[in-house]
Symmetry: C2
Subunit: 545 residues, 2 copies
């Protein structure tokens, strides 16, 4: 009879335990969980903080008692493993009652990730500064939120933004301090700006390219890098997570990238009797095959099941991760899959960018919302590298379809062929994903050439003439300086106003009408490019005062 | 300069025209449209009838004037082509002002499909009997609906059900008469029954395996095949559509399956100067490569663009169609992609069926709805054949992901690997699509064996003992006759009550707990199968009085 020890009883650990039981009714399966709860809804914590999940008990998806009975598990909460003793195949377990050794035949590490706590002056003596990772954390934060007026969230990643929204919902005045140039560092800046705008519209102060350098007055005053100070009754540290591998490291297991655990395709660490899964391990990014760390619930759960399959003798391989993620920030959703521009640059990959906007479902049916989609692909082969989307509705669906397409190795040429479900309440006869494929084909064929928002100033400085093909009323409400206005439907008649010796860039509201203008001009012998994302992206990226 | 004539100015025809213009600024492009409108929202008609789309003008997505100006098109409405004169490359056009000939260099047929009008006794003299295909149709139906109390919809396909719902919304008492065994003939019966139940719950009378055999009293009385009569103030014929190929046939173009137009991969008919797209053409079904007819807006639009690409000299091929569709029926959505069981049987393909239910998003987050998913796949290779899903939310997303997976040639082994966007408002850490992959792997590995709802009676007659592993309270509220009740969590203790000589079938509410029971029993040496879809499907398929 095999004896399995699993360290960590949340996503991956509990998936491994229950799958092991389904495959091996006789095995001894012991779960050692440091905290008071197993199988809790980690991703639900910010929504409980917000009050959207009203019952605390809803966070406890399965209780230890239920799991014990159904899966014949030996679940030990409040049991912290303090050492792995590889030579005698045991772990040292610390509980309130004392310390003991537990033998294993196979050990599974599902220790997860832990919040990074930055070294900030005065942090040690600061009060009401929290990280959010488990139920006791959220209990503390909620109690303090009820007694607070002003909150500061340090870090604008997924969890930081979810907490910021939650605290706004609780009536607090919230400031976000982010070191990078924009919120959601895993997004490219212009896509993140749609989300940042929603935060600002809901009264959140967003301070980017800034940092908290010191806590003063026992944490009630935060000093920023730019010298400014912020008052705070409640401060959240959400600057990211790191693999919780101290235990593995102490046991001499091999670590790699950012102290993540190195495992082989079968989740085996450098000790063949010890396996590891979840946020603690290094995985291969699907496209680049490079090492990466991914702290997401879905891969952790999948890996938990797969390691159980491996241990039960099934041929199951870790096939890597794309890294698909989504966040809701007030009425906006922001989703991404695959690689973003900075990751593509780091990997040395040549890529083409494409932005387009479309509707969540048929425009003539009530409730259609605008989605902005960014596609990244290889300009010669059409290989799909990544996608980002933002909007109030339908973002998850588009990201999921594109994640599936990337996983399957489809190219932009396949996107028009995708037969997506269409009826007016659900989609469009030409879904934005199909349209993205068409637009990419146009770029690859040279039927269209684009200029990105960040390339515009240089192109105009080099002499390009910008032509705004929107209607005069739209132009008057706000236009890019230096643009001349010739509405699309007048372009054929007024083309003679444009000397052929010039180089032109066409723009409209979103990039659709300007593409039509580009085609008219190109076929009339003009040198012309389309401003990708057009005035919408341009305006979004202008500094606000 | 090329002169293109396009017959039909709605989905495919207008897509072809506008793409042609974008690729060829000089070409002469004439669109001949029989009706008064081009580019109208065909799929929006039932929602206008329902009052959900309140403005009639919203149905007219683009007007002829707008399209003419923007794309330099020659759009001729109320212009019916009565003949194609292939020898002199012209068509005969009939208008209110008379008849004329128009020459073409290339002709594109986008004549679509037309409603099948069944030969029913008394139909000729019946009043207030309509089909719904265009704006004048919906104007007539709406006018009559406002003066009606009772309506009968003949045919329970997508359009029939959308019209039935619309008429209920208008306050009418609606009866649906369907010749087949269930509504939504493109779905398998048990999946269609979820939708049928929603219709009944909203007061619609659904008469299946029945037909209208005669109209009496000028259409106010409908005689049914079973002798019953129905009073009707308004009758809709929605028994299906057929390719509108009379014109092509008269011109001697080659027709095939159900009088659909035969075209090659480049949309060329048997006359190399004549191309055809949309509902009128025969396409290859992606999986079987067999001829099929698909009357859907998305393929028509894609084909319109592609035929323009072909005519402009681009290498673009018709790569066939899967046939993805969705319908909203009151609060339920029903979506499907690929092949259903009857199509698989007709194609002679061996398949495995799998049903499972899951939540539209994390169960602990407010608003999670139940989705039922049916997956059809090759039991040895895991090739994905088709999927059907029903539920109030998230059906479109799952069908779109699966349509993408099928198109990409993924297998059930790839489904657990799909990295779908997860945050509690949008999905689950293990999405129902991932779970479907796991369940399929279990079946393929022999870790689970299933019995379908329609196989249960025979299996029990052959001596199988049904074990209901739900809680006693659930069992008492309704159970399958002959089942004994041993709750899952008691099974290990009470296993001795089950003689090993028997063959067992386990069941619960949805099939999840019974799968766990199956694993416990199997590993203890029992011969056991899991009732796929469990009591939920069983109860759904019981005859109602």
């Amino acid at each position: 009879m095999m004896k399995y020890l699993i360290i960590g009883g949340v996503a991956g650990g509990m998936s491994a335990a229950t799958r092991l039981r389904r495959l091996d009714e006789q095995a001894e399966i012991i779960i050692l969980e440091k905290g008071p709860y197993v199988s809790f809804a980690n991703c639900g914590l910010p929504y409980y903080l917000a009050g959207e999940i009203s019952e605390r008990s809803d966070l406890l998806v399965k209780t230890a008692a239920q799991l014990t009975k159904r899966f014949k598990l030996d679940i030990r909460q409040n049991s912290e493993v303090t050492a792995i003793n590889r030579t005698d195949q045991s772990v040292t377990v610390k509980t309130a009652q004392g310390t003991y050794q537990e033998h294993y035949d196979r050990l599974i590490l599902s220790t997860g990730a832990q919040p990074v706590v930055p070294a900030i002056e005065g942090l040690d003596s600061a009060q009401h500064v929290y990280t959010l990772r488990n139920v006791p954390d959220v209990d503390q934060i909620l109690a303090q939120a009820k007694a607070s007026q002003k909150a500061v969230v340090i870090g604008a990643g997924f969890i930081g933004l979810e907490i910021a929204e939650a605290l706004v919902n609780r009536g607090l005045q919230v400031t976000i301090v982010e070191r990078g140039t924009h919120v959601l560092p895993s997004f490219d800046i212009e896509m993140a700006m749609f989300v940042q705008r929603a935060l600002v519209q809901h009264g959140v102060t967003v301070l980017t390219e800034n940092a908290v350098t010191a806590f003063e007055a026992a944490g009630q005053t935060l000093v920023l890098a730019n010298g400014q100070t912020l008052a705070s009754d409640l401060t959240i540290l959400a600057v990211g997570v790191q693999p919780a591998t101290q235990l593995a490291n102490a046991a001499g297991l091999q670590l790699g990238l950012r102290k993540g655990l190195i495992v082989n395709d079968h989740y085996q660490t450098s000790d063949p009797l010890i396996y590891a899964i979840g946020d603690a391990i290094i995985v291969k990014q699907t496209t680049t095959n490079q090492d990466t760390l991914i702290s997401l619930a879905s891969p952790a759960n999948r890996q938990g099941r797969q390691v159980a399959d491996v241990l039960a003798g099934k041929n199951r391989l870790n096939r890597g991760s794309l890294g698909t993620a989504i966040v809701r920030v007030f009425e906006m959703a922001g989703g991404s899959t695959g690689l973003n521009e900075s990751q593509l640059q780091a990997a040395g990959l040549t890529y083409q960018v494409l932005h387009l906007s479309g509707k969540s479902h048929a425009g003539y049916f009530p409730g259609a919302e605008t989605i902005w989609l960014k596609l990244l692909f290889q300009p010669q082969t059409g290989e799909l590298f990544g996608a980002q989307a933002v909007g109030p509705d339908g973002v998850d669906k588009r990201i999921d379809v594109l994640a599936t397409a990337i996983k399957a190795g489809l190219t932009v040429d396949d996107l028009p062929e995708l037969e997506l479900s269409y009826a007016p309440p659900f989609g469009s006869a030409k879904d934005i994903i199909n349209l993205a494929g068409y637009a990419a084909q146009n770029l690859m064929a040279g039927d269209s050439q684009s200029v990105q928002w960040h390339e515009l100033a240089a192109a105009m400085a080099a002499g390009a003439q910008l032509v705004d093909v929107r209607e005069p009323a739209e132009h008057q409400q706000g236009a890019i300086p230096g643009a001349i206005n010739i509405p699309l439907d007048d372009l054929r008649q007024r083309m003679s106003e444009l000397p052929k010796s010039n180089h032109y860039i066409v723009s409209c509201a979103s990039g659709l009408r300007s593409y039509l203008a580009e085609r008219i001009l190109k076929q009339n012998g003009y040198q012309v490019q389309n401003l990708d994302g057009a005035y919408a992206l341009y305006a979004l990226m202008q500094p606000k005062d």
